[in-house]
Symmetry: C2
Subunit: 226 residues, 2 copies
């Protein structure tokens, strides 16, 4: 589904340089649910951004399928993200002037397609946000905003989903619902999911857990026992 080769991302130069990614080679297989864990500041979000084409690495390569996304121009990256990749941001990034429903269906509108109303209904019900679709982000709680951001990432049924701490603002029930939903979409729809999490219970839903520290992969565990 996606892999990187010696990916590096450095901010600043000289003494003050920060090596957010210090050479990461990792493959995320199709149809599997991979969790990424690691201390705060270890490069998890930076890795997700570079592998999803949201940010350009300093060096190294990143592939979606067989496509080297470093060779794409900005328009190519936008098309790739719109058609093949769903992204749940750590800070939600909802559009403040749109309602929850409009935020969710925005990717479809941008692609000039028609909304699959049945799938929208299913998503909204699974995520428990049916009674807040007319609210704008400022009229939603933190957890509700996070679930709207998840629905937006899934609306186009992308085959590859990157989710950056999708349960950070959810209580244990809402978070168990969301994780079970993500698990099902891997098993039933064959989607590939890469999820950053600090929550050990979240890692329990994954097929594999990759551990980062200081911008490098320091561990890789198959199927943890939940």
């Amino acid at each position: 589904a996606a892999h990187s080769v010696d990916l590096r991302k450095t901010y600043g130069a000289g003494q003050a340089a920060v090596h957010a990614l210090a050479g990461i080679t990792v493959a995320f297989e199709r149809g599997r649910f991979t969790a990424v864990m690691g201390p705060s500041g270890s490069g998890k979000s930076t890795l997700m951004h570079c592998m999803a084409g949201l940010d350009r690495p300093t060096s190294g390569q990143s592939f979606v399928g067989d496509l080297d996304i470093g060779k794409l121009d900005d328009a190519g990256l936008t098309k790739l993200r719109r058609d093949r990749i769903g992204f749940v941001f750590q800070s939600f990034n909802l559009i403040p002037t749109l309602t929850a429903a409009e935020n969710i269906t925005l990717p479809v509108a941008l692609a000039g397609a028609k909304v699959d109303q049945e799938w929208l209904g299913y998503l909204v019900k699974q995520l428990g946000i049916g009674d807040r679709l007319a609210h704008r982000p400022s009229e939603l709680s933190g957890g509700q905003q996070q679930r709207v951001a998840c629905a937006r990432a899934l609306i186009n049924k992308p085959d590859l989903i990157f989710a950056d701490e999708p349960t950070g603002n959810l209580d244990s029930n809402a978070s168990a619902d969301l994780l079970a939903f993500l698990r099902r979409s891997v098993q039933e729809l064959g989607q590939s999911i890469v999820m950053v999490t600090h929550d050990p219970r979240g890692a329990g839903y994954a097929d594999r857990v990759v551990f980062l520290a200081d911008g490098t992969v320091v561990g890789d565990l198959e199927r943890p026992t939940a």
Copy 2:
């Protein structure tokens, strides 16, 4: 330290009305660490905002010490928040154009006081953000931003601290460090802390846990065993 009497907050009217707070009477004692838990959308952030004077309730009263904060005008509320209350927002609310250090010391600058450099150094070291003080919020990871927001809430040594999911973006080590630090400031400095959390480990650091559901208090536990 703070208490509310039949606090209500309703958004909208008629059919679409949302009763975020449906009558909450609760007291948070001085020098104690109280956790507030409850499902997403149950009113936790709304309660914190109304009790800290950041939002006006629809009806009911809220007191800081013996002061009925509903009787204060906007200038009075601002002064109360600056001098007596520290607030850690669920969405950080850092000023994007300021560095981490400037964000942290902003409350002191606004109060026209001098920064206690020793206390600033102690805070920064406890929260593990010493090497990111010159970074702006966009140059910090989610967890680092959260810790800067915590330092800002504590810089003026307020006697009452409201923290809305202060560990939501932190890995288990950083979150244990922060919780232990909050626990110490209750025991050693006599501060009063009210913390919203979804994390059972977080609740374990508290003296008491108050449970909300649908805008009302549904449970109240003394000193859970960690």
